[in-house]
Amino acid sequence: MKSRQTYSWVGRPLLDPKLHHQTYREMSVKVEGCSTELHIHVGQFVLVEGNDDENPYVAKLVELFEDGSEPRSRKRARVQWFIRFCEVPVCKQHLLGRKPAAQEIFWYDYPACDSNINAETIIGPVQVVALAPDEVIPTDLKNEKTLFVKLSWNEKKFSPLSPELFAQLEKLQEGSPRCQKSVEAKTKNIESPSCTTAERAVKRVESRHSSSKSRPAPTHPVTPRARKRLELSSSPRTPNTRISRQTSWASPDSPRRTKRKAALSEITSPSKRSQPDGLQTPSPARKAPEKTGEIQRRSCAKDDKKVSAERHMTLRPRVPALKTTVLSEERRLTPTRGGRRSSMVPSVILIPENIRKREAEEPEAQDEAVSSRHHTSRKSSLLTLNQIKQQLRFLGKSESDSEDEEFLPAAEIPDSSSEEEEDSTSPLPRTPSGASRNLRSSTKLSLQTPSKTPKKTPKPRTPHHATPRIRSRNLAAQEPASVLEEARLRLHVSAVPESLPCREQEFQDIYNFVESKLLDQTGGCMYISGVPGTGKTATVHEVIRGLQQAAQANDVPPFQYIEVNGMKLTEPHQVYVQILQKLTGQKATAIHAAELLAKRFRTQGSSQETTVLLVDELDLLWTQKQDVMYNLFDWPTHKEARLVVLTIANTMDLPERIMMNRVSSRLGLTRMSFQPYTHSQLQQILGSRLKHLRAFEDDAIQFVARKVAALSGDARRCLDICRRATDICEFSCQKPGSPGLVTVAHLLEAVDEMFSSSYITAIKNSSVLEQSFLRAILAEFRRSGLEEATFQQWLVMFLLE
């Protein structure tokens, strides 16, 4: 699939006095094994190779220059980045507040991002359309390579494009819609007002073609007007076209365009003269016998030539106008073919495919035509406007290509232009007469085309991130009414306190660690251990919250936070999938995700901020080969990764116990251990939660704190006991209006309930037979002194009793 591409400068270098390197205006990309070349100019929008082959980076070429500083000079380019929605950090995607359109991109307003790239990573040009904030992004596009920019993104928020930026982008789109509109307006005066210009253009073209071939046009109900015109002879029609052409020629934009062309023509290199278009240059490929379609087309072009012989004279002055349309066709092809498959097929061979595609599109195109004609609602008009705009943008991009055509034999022009003029209107409704004309050539060609131009069928996209959720409740949850209910709510483990008491030291340590890594833009690992319920995860969350606030206040550089939990994975290798998905939103298999992550963390990325990764329940990521742990701790050691890994597990000596040397060595010695809470700490925690709420007796709080500290030091347990005690308290006091305080007695009951073994009551309540069974076991144990006995032996004892 990937063929080698050679990059070469086009035109003379302009020496930049300040920067001591040579700048160029244009670059040509030659694909090996293919006679075509791709020309890329400064100011064009380009695709740049990225991590993801499906979605390459998008950028605007600002400058092309040769970097002479290094021993081997390299082609460099300066770009202004655009960012795709999928490249926006997942955690910030919600800031958009709506679903992004499939082809929407954002102006990347982030100066810290490296804009200097290797010119050889450029894949090819792409079409980017700037939209005013109130414009709707068209959805049903024939050309899927067109991208739309509407908002800018500066790592913090999405904002509409500033007016001057918009104007700048708009200016780049040569042949702006305003110009087209004027054409439209003028032609409307000439022809019937109900038709759109494009339609008219189609009809014009068709009429010329069909007449030149003197072939009866097939009837079609939708375009009676076109048919009528077809029946006319060619001579009355010619003025008609001339008029329309002249209108476009006279459009306010055209002079400007020619001026620019003139300016550009001097930098055109002679190499460019070998135009890829096989039709226009007598290349050997044209004479190849198998290209029957081409020959066939040429034959029909020949008689066309004869007919329009006298037209050349009149057309001559209008050549630029015609040429733009020629090129628009060419451009339309390049992003899809040259860009994506990085190989360019001579346009002649491509045409049949185009036609076939067109045929497929025809019914809907006609529907569109009908609808747009019948009710010119705002939407449809907007749509056509966009389509027109899109077309014209190609003109804009291809403007510098156009001067090459001036050297071409004029005789070819009418033919190709008429052909291609039609193509340029492809997003617009087409009449059947044109299609059936093309059908003839396409059917002949169909045998050889499939192999050369495999048709690309875009896959229907399924929603990438379906967001499931539990349905919301009809009735709002009641708010707590009494003091005890309020207390219970605050005592719930899920209630997040404003601050974490008793973990100040640990908080500070972790905070300092992560902050220093962020400031140094390096990576590192930290291992946090402690028994369950000692606030490990809560503290880390608190640290991250603090750092995020600091990042908002620009105290620390912004970072991306990702959390994975070993318990929430089905299998250790799934951790890659989770990280990748949270990092980029991509979905991949575990193996593929591991590769992508390794690539991401080991190579210099274009726009990277530090990533903070929290791995909870680390011990569950243990595998036989320990490759998951190894990778997790290996990535931060790469300088480019800028990855901070915080790991949490229960056991203090986990690295020594289960990890291989090479894994624990990478984990490093930054360890932290969370001690179980002492009774005074638990008391403080309870106190902070129950601040200003008189629900517990002081003694009661002290009692439960001491009890839990003696048992486990688990804060969750402590909170649960208190919560249960409020239940008991509420339960025991019968009068609902006056709930008393929770006393030691209540807590004692709760503690008993939770910690007392239920065996004794269970035995007490079992049946006589079950009790004697136990007695017999005991007797047998006393007799034999062994802890195990067979049923038979037991039965003997049982019967003795």
Binding site: T462, P463, A466, T467, P468, R469, I470, R471, S472, R473, N474, L475, A476, A477, Q478, P480, E485, R488, L489, H492, V493, S494, A495, V496, V531, P532, M567, K568, L569, T570, E571, V577, Q578, L620, N650, D714, R716, R717, D720, I721, R723, R724, D727, F731, E753, M754, F755, S758, Y759, T761, A762, K764, N765, S766, S767, V768, L769, T790, Q792, L799
Partner: protein
């Protein structure tokens, strides 16, 4: 000839008498027909009602002695449903102690509250059905109707399912999303799942500010908390509701009465009254009390009481419309029947002899395993010395009998049968107890006396 004639006449007269009798019966039955029909209808009604009560856990029955636990549970569920507070609780109790009945009662009462019924989602899982976390996740997704939420993308791999569900539950918060009540039957089996992923995640949700959930586990293992991993255990709220069958015999009698008596809304009031009177009488009867006491001593499980009553109920017919003490005694016997001893009753004399030989071998060698050859030798000794009635069978015939015993699973090979091992020398173990053999022998019809003697005194033969 005359005698024969006479005989025929007697036969004739007999048949006439029969005919007359039949006519009489028919007449009387016609009179009673409507009454009788009603009677049988009533009985079928009774059987239907009571069987339903015994077999299905009907929600209409009252709760016996679990009011405190019930109140605890219902309060907890209400707080989840109304305040959106997440909770977790375990209901622990032996089999048949009414755990499922308790939660079903609580849910029924909860659903009767109008504001709650629309707001609560229920997910019922059973450790016997959802044998691993993947199946459980799919079941949860299905029961929460989440598969409707996202068109085509449901039920991918296990990992996808998990993250999908966690994401779904994470989206909610205390006040706005619908509370979900998870009921995990056979909770202890979930603890055997790999890593206890499901339990960890459920408890983690219940301990974090996500969709409010109530996790209710039902189990009969008292040591359930030891089965949980420490981090899972830490996330569990340690609320336990114990159901212990803590009633005594008087309550047991009361339950017995209540289970048998007909409801007031029974169509035939007269019959119901009579039936209930009979039940009252039964409960005061000494032999019935004895039966019940014995049953109570063996097991306090209410299901076993149901079984007993069911068997007794099956004996009730239109000719025998009311349950008697004898019925109950019969049912008790059926209940406590030993199936192995019953199998022994059906064996041939040769097979009985083999079993006795094995018993002697067991006595001599103290539960050491034996093989066919040893048994055959023992049998030969008996036949040659003392047997009068037992024919000396050939070895293959004895072998066949031996194999039959193995098929009946009265004896079991010690290790797996391999193809090339000699069957005569394979080590076997007897699965019957001495007392079982003796009891069976006593009941064995037409048991030869010498065989019986041999069974009782083994060592004298040597």
């Amino acid at each position: 000839m005359t005698q024969r004639h006479f005989q025929r006449r007697r036969l004739h007269s007999k048949s006439w008498c029969l005919f007359v009798g039949f006519q009489f019966v028919e007449m009387s039955s016609r009179k009673l027909k409507s009454n009788n029909l009603k009677h049988s209808e009533c009985l079928s009604q009774v059987q239907r009602i009571l069987r339903e009560r015994f077999c299905h856990q009907s929600l209409h029955s009252n709760l016996f002695g679990v009011q405190v636990q019930y109140k605890h549970l219902i309060e907890l569920l209400k707080r989840t449903a109304i305040y959106g507070e997440s909770n977790s609780v375990l209901i622990i109790g032996p089999r048949g102690s009414g755990k499922t009945m308790l939660i079903n009662h609580a849910l029924k009462e909860l659903m009767e509250v109008e504001e709650v019924s629309e707001n609560v989602l229920q997910v019922h899982l059973n450790g016997l059905l959802q044998i691993n976390d993947n199946i459980a996740l799919k079941e949860i997704t299905r029961q929460l109707n989440l598969e409707n939420v996202v068109g085509d993308k449901v039920f991918g791999s296990f990992a996808e399912n998990l993250s999908f569900l966690l994401e779904a539950l994470k989206k909610g918060d205390r006040t706005s999303s619908c509370p979900v009540i998870f009921i995990l039957d056979e909770f202890d089996l979930f603890a055997h799942h790999k890593n206890q992923t499901l339990l960890y995640n459920l408890f983690d949700i219940s301990q974090s500010a996500q969709t409010p959930v109530a996790v209710v586990g039902l189990t009969c293992r008292l040591d359930i908390l030891e089965l949980l991993e420490k981090r899972v255990k830490s996330r569990f709220s340690h609320r336990q509701i114990h159901l212990m069958n803590s009633f005594g015999f008087p309550q047991y009698l009361k339950i017995f009465k209540e289970q048998l008596s007909l409801p007031a809304e029974f169509p035939d009031k007269l019959f119901a009254e009579k039936w209930n009177e009979n039940v009252q009488c039964l409960s005061e009867d000494r032999s019935v009390r004895e039966v019940l006491q014995k049953h109570f001593n063996v097991s306090k499980n209410l299901r076993s009481l149901h079984m007993l009553l069911m068997l007794a109920l099956n004996r009730v017919t239109s000719s025998h419309p009311f349950m008697t003490a004898a019925d109950l005694m019969e049912a008790n016997q059926l209940c406590s029947m030993d199936s192995k001893a019953n199998i022994v009753h059906g064996l041939s004399v040769l097979e009985i002899c083999l079993i006795i030989a094995m018993k002697h071998l067991n006595d001599i060698y103290e539960e050491e395993p034996f093989n066919f050859q040893m048994v055959y030798n023992e049998f030969q000794k008996f036949v040659q010395r003392k047997a009068h009635s037992v024919y000396n069978f050939e070895k293959p015939v004895v072998m066949k009998a031996f194999e039959h015993l193995q098929q009946l699973e009265l004896i079991r090979p010690m290790e797996r049968t391999s193809v090339n091992a000699q069957r005569e020398y394979q080590l076997m173990k007897l699965l019957l107890d001495n007392t079982q053999i003796m009891n069976a022998l006593q009941k064995y019809p037409n048991c030869p006396t010498d065989v019986r003697q041999w069974a009782t005194s083994s060592l004298s033969w040597l």
